[in-house]
């Protein structure tokens, strides 16, 4: 074995009293951290191979294993941390670009944790969501600025339909996505995640009355039945895109960029392109699936507009078209351009957005936090009077329902959750998705690993998560004296900043805690 220059990330401790040499851990670890020595009838562990996914810890029948952070430090320097040193050693050994998975783990300030919510007291009664209706229904898509009505010549008298019988609204409403709760599953391609994981997301979306997003992985034939709850993605690789694909969905999303790797394309290595994936992506089996950094037919906003309208033509203007971008410095102006180019939805992915694989340096350093991006985009669209023309979906590291409430109050119509959904299915955030060896059966195509994830159980867990968050959102809204999500949306007066810089408050458009109306 090659001697490494650096210490392992994790320390795996095996209690010899408890270990019965059953080899469960050996079979569970796709990274081969555990090996069985038949001669010595002993299970050994190579800590340097451990990724900290905790699969073996939970599967060990006798509870003999524990995994902890490796505590020994190499250099006692605040600047040259162990992480920095290890990355340098790795690059010195390989000469390669560092790769990683999931969202950034860097200690950036999490603005959500510096935003506080309001509640009603005395002058404005809070509402009990268990007794009173509490409306979370959300419609995504372009909306007209106003409506025109005409008085009906023949009065229609329908019971309970007072004025709707007297007047007709002549303005047509463009196709909308109807969500029972303002949450969607973010784009995760079949390829980056397993079929079982994709199916769990699709079936959970159907059960929850929300949507999942295919990512750029095409649409597996067994998932066509969930098309009413599917957003299909058209990305720079154009994988799996044909007329049937574009019409087997509720909406189409053009992916320009994602928060984990703004300005970077994607790469699914050939060994992951199995029979099934080759069919879904419409590429030969075993070939690398390369998504170029830009779309090769989009080099300007007017090119984007052409693609938006090409898709609208192909779908007979029956599907809302979303455009997803990473939150970069000039995000407000870009989003405004996207809306004017004809998009019905703008999806913005912040710096904490996840990924199956990204260069570490890009993931950890490019983009801006989603909190600031939502505010900047919503403010800009309102200033330009185009807020009704498109909905905003925010993405990038939503951890809980309070983050969702804050995002909506800042101005988002709905949020995409990716990492949180994966975690609810069992992901332990080891950030090794790019290896394809996910021990939890999520980010892998290895049939042996894939079958570890039961799509029905995973679906149930996802449904529970959405249910729990929705209940919590209702509880918070009721506390604020709000019984409909549209009265929360963009209602920044119900937020206060705590321990935030003046400039951050200004961009967020919120007042500091302690300042009243």
């Amino acid at each position: 074995m090659k001697r490494m220059l650096y210490s392992p990330d994790y320390l795996v401790t095996r209690d010899p009293e408890k270990c019965i040499q059953c080899e469960v851990c050996v079979r569970q670890c796709a990274f081969n951290a555990h090996t069985y020595d038949a001669e010595k009838h002993r299970v050994d562990t190579d800590c340097s191979k451990c990724v900290g996914c905790f699969r073996c810890v939970y599967m060990c029948p006798t509870g003999a294993l524990s995994v902890s952070e490796f505590s020994g430090r190499m250099a006692n320097s605040a600047n040259w941390t162990d992480k920095q040193l290890k990355e340098l050693y790795k690059q010195a050994e390989t000469g390669g670009v560092l790769l990683t998975g999931m969202g950034t783990d860097k200690k950036y300030k999490i603005i959500w944790d510096h935003i506080l919510l309001d509640a009603a007291q005395v002058t404005n009664p809070s509402i009990d969501p268990l007794r009173e209706p509490m409306e979370l229904r959300t419609y995504l898509g372009g909306k007209p600025l106003s409506i025109e009505v005409k008085e009906n010549k023949r009065k229609v008298s329908l019971p309970g339909a007072d004025i709707s019988g007297r007047f007709s609204i002549t303005t047509e409403l463009p196709q909308q996505l109807e969500l029972k709760t303002p949450i969607l599953f973010s784009a995760m391609s079949y390829g980056a995640i397993s079929f079982n994981a994709s199916k769990a997301l699709a079936s959970a979306a159907e059960e929850c009355g929300i949507y999942y997003n295919t990512g750029e992985g095409g649409l597996h034939k067994d998932l066509y039945r969930y098309s009413k709850n599917t957003i299909v993605q058209v990305a720079s690789g154009r994988f799996g895109v044909d007329t049937e694909y574009l019409n087997s969905c509720a909406a189409v999303e053009i992916k320009i960029g994602q928060g984990a790797k703004p300005g970077i394309g994607g790469h699914l290595p050939g060994e992951k392109v199995t029979d099934e994936i080759s069919m879904a992506r419409m590429i030969p089996k075993g070939t690398d699936a390369l998504s170029p950094a830009p779309h090769h037919d989009i080099y300007s906003i007017e090119d984007l507009s052409q693609l938006i309208y090409a898709i609208k033509e192909a779908t007979e203007y029956k599907k809302p078209v979303s455009v997803k971008i990473a939150a970069v410095h000039n995000v407000a102006a870009i989003a405004s351009g996207i809306v004017r180019a004809g998009a019905d939805i703008v999806a913005i992915d912040g710096i904490r957005g996840g990924t199956g694989a990204a260069p570490t340096r890009t993931r950890d350093n490019v983009g801006i936090p989603i909190e600031l991006a939502i505010s900047a985009v919503d403010t800009r669209m309102r200033e330009e009077g185009i807020r009704n023309r498109a909905s905003i979906i925010a993405a990038g590291g939503f951890r809980n329902s309070a983050d969702v409430v804050k995002a909506i109050a800042l101005g988002a119509d709905a949020v995409y959750i990716g990492t949180a959904a994966l975690i609810s299915m069992g992901c332990h955030l080891c950030q090794k998705c790019y290896t394809g060896k996910c021990n939890w059966g999520i980010a892998t195509q290895d049939p042996y690993l894939v079958k570890r994830l039961n799509s029905e159980i995973a679906c149930r867990r996802l449904v529970n998560l959405i249910l729990a968050w929705s209940l919590e959102i209702k509880e918070i809204m009721g506390g604020m004296g709000i019984n409909s999500i549209e009265s929360l949306r963009g209602n920044r007066l119900r937020l206060r900043g705590f321990d935030l810089h003046e400039n951050e408050l200004k961009i967020l458009g919120i007042k500091p805690a302690g300042e009243s109306l």
């Binding site: 009603a120 005395v122 002058t123 404005n124 009664p125 509402i127 009173e132 209706p133 409306e135 229904r137 419609y139 909306k143 007209p144 600025l145 106003s146 409506i147 025109e148 009505v149 008085e151 229609v156 329908l158 309970g160 339909a161 007072d162 004025i163 709707s164 019988g165 007297r166 007047f167 007709s168 609204i169 303005t171 409403l173 909308q176 309102r382 009077g385 807020r387 009704n388 109050a409 604020m480 004296g481 709000i482 019984n483 409909s484 549209e486 009265s487 929360l488 949306r489 963009g490 209602n491 920044r492 007066l493 119900r494 009243s516 109306l517």
Partner: protein
């Protein structure tokens, strides 16, 4: 408790003294705390009924000088005079109270050829009220005016000598402020053009209603939710030319679970209203009376968290927070009922305005 509101309209358009509405609102003094009261009267300036009448609150002479100069840019001044008042010992620290009768000047019409006269007026009102000049135009309609200040409504009414005015429609408010301090321009009613509005409640959706209105050029310097509701009416009725009944259903739409069981055309109708006008939905406890010179309307929030009562007697219609306020001026009404949530009570003028 909270604020109290009241309104009276004569459906025949006959004029009656402001004394009636003062007595009505006074009866509910327990709902107020002396930090704001006010009235709007319609039909009170018949001699100048074709002029825009501005009632303005000035902090000092300097703010008046600046405002005078701004008004002269767009208007021909028909008349400019102090609003008559009398001494009431409870009313202290009174600001300068002035009224103007104005015509949009020909030069302004030429310059803003794409705007209606009403839009030119609105533009000036927004400019002055949000301009930190210490001037607030509190009403800007025709043949109507708003009288308000810090004190109990009954004191404010006597201070402005409202018993000497005659109008065919009056609305009133007595305040117990909870979101902004008691100050003269912050009292109710709020007015823009012919609209005036009194509101008992607190809107939990104010933050988004305000931002929604700003998209359409409204500015909300008074920091109060009631101002937002007034402008929403102005936006929907005047700018978007929607019928009052539809505007009301936009502000207080039916709940989704009620919409879902409606017949298909009605379902589609309400879905459109809610989807297009989500920023105009008002949420939170409210009882509201709004008047525009042609009618007086009353309604409550979707789940009726504040009271409102309607009564009719002869050609007169009454709205008030409490029954006692109506019985005070109309002891035996022909009919009396509680305004239901989700229902708009419209009391219109049938006859010609006298």
């Amino acid at each position: 408790m909270g604020c109290s509101i009241a309104g009276v309209i004569d459906g025949n358009g006959s004029l009656f003294s402001g004394d009636e509405i003062i007595r009505s609102i006074q009866k509910m003094f327990l709902r107020a705390n002396g930090l704001g009261g006010g009235f709007a009267g319609y039909g009170i300036y018949p001699e100048n009924k074709n002029d825009f009448c501005f009632h303005v609150i000035y902090k000092d002479d300097k703010s008046k000088d600046i405002t005078d100069a701004i008004l002269k840019l767009d208007f021909d001044v028909v008349k400019s005079e102090p609003i008559p008042t009398k001494s009431i010992k409870e009313i202290i620290n009174r600001p300068i109270l002035w009224r103007y009768f104005l015509q949009v000047s020909d030069s302004a019409k030429r310059q803003f050829y794409d705007l209606t006269e009403e839009e030119i007026v609105m533009r000036v009102v927004m400019k002055i009220n949000s301009g930190s000049y210490g001037s607030f135009i509190i009403s800007s309609g025709k043949n109507m005016g708003i009288f308000k200040g810090v004190g109990y409504a009954s004191e404010i009414g006597r201070f402005f000598r409202l018993e000497e005015y005659s109008g065919y429609c009056w609305i009133a408010h007595d305040r117990f402020p909870t979101n902004t301090p008691g100050w003269w321009a912050g009292a109710h009613p709020f007015g823009l053009l012919n609209f005036s509005l009194v509101h008992n409640g607190e809107i939990s959706s104010y933050g988004i209603n305000k931002r929604y209105l700003e998209e359409f050029g409204y500015q909300l310097p008074l920091r109060t939710d009631s101002e937002a509701i007034l402008y929403l009416f102005d936006l929907l009725l005047r700018k978007h030319s929607l019928p009052l009944e539809i505007a009301y259903k936009i502000l207080c739409p039916p709940l989704w679970h009620d919409i879902d069981i409606m017949p298909a055309p009605a379902r589609e109708f309400y879905k459109k209203l809610r989807v297009v006008y989500s920023g105009a939905l008002i949420n939170g406890p409210s009882a509201i009376i709004v008047a525009d010179g042609k009618r007086m309307c009353g309604f409550t929030d979707r789940i009726k968290l504040r009271p409102l009562i309607h009564a009719a007697c002869g050609s007169k219609h009454y709205l008030a927070s409490e029954e006692c306020a109506i019985r005070e001026i109309c002891p035996v009404p022909d009919e009396l009922s509680f305004v239901k949530s989700g229902e708009l009570t419209v009391c219109g003028i049938k006859g010609k305005i006298k």
